[in-house]
Amino acid sequence: MNLLKILILSSLITSCATTVPVTAKFPDAPKILFETCPQLKTIDTETTTMSILTKTVRDNYSTYYECSVKMDGWIEWYQVHKKIFEEISK
């Protein structure tokens, strides 16, 4: 009986092991998202015609839309990766 008591009590003093760290690599984003947005085009004051002005405006709008697509890409990338990270933490 003494042995039994000691055995039961000894279960309370079982040791603990150290935790094993798991390193997770920060996820990479698509290379295309790292391309910086170009400067908007300006017009030469001396040689301006209506068509040059409109073409420059068109170029600048296109630049905006191309940048906007990349920005949307970053938002999507973040949201999806946040979801993936949360699934790991569950």
Partner: protein, 149 residues
């Protein structure tokens, strides 16, 4: 305890069991000797040491169990990470493809507008001169700078 991580599971388990059963065996031996030999000089010493060995064994068993739980968790997390990395790569490809496709569409539409300008707007190049302040305002807006008057 870090050294535990280097040892295989079975080896650890066998060591722990050997210690516990070794202690139990010694305890039984001490009881048998006590029954057979009425005057047994090392009775207490043998019994105490066997109980100590059992205690040490149980202590190690606790450590072993915790270690196994952690190893299991590490395996789980590593598996989840592998899946996450796979998903991440897939999502990156999808985003990349989407951006390339949308950029292509934007450029195509831009070219369409350019063709329209070349066809229609050029007609007004000579009749509709652009005043300098318009260009100035446009350039200032494009470079996000203050208009110099």
């Amino acid at each position: 305890m870090w050294i535990l991580h280097l040892l295989p599971d079975n080896f650890l388990y066998n060591v722990v069991l050997t210690i516990i059963f070794g202690g139990v065996f010694l305890y039984i031996v001490s009881l048998v000797l006590n029954l057979l030999l009425k005057v047994y000089p090392y009775k207490n010493a043998l019994r105490t040491s066997s109980v100590l060995i059992i205690l040490i064994g149980i202590y190690f068993y606790g450590g072993y169990s915790t270690e196994m739980i952690w190893r299991e968790r590490v395996k789980e997390v590593e598996a989840k990470l592998a899946i996450a990395e796979e998903k991440s790569a897939k999502v990156n490809t999808q985003i990349q493809v989407k951006i390339v496709k949308q950029t292509k569409t934007i450029r195509e539409r831009g070219q369409n507008v350019t063709r329209y300008i070349d066809r229609e707007v050029t007609k007004y190049d000579n009749t509709c001169p652009i005043p300098a302040p318009v260009v100035k305002a446009h350039n200032a807006a494009a470079t996000n700078s203050i208009v110099k008057e």
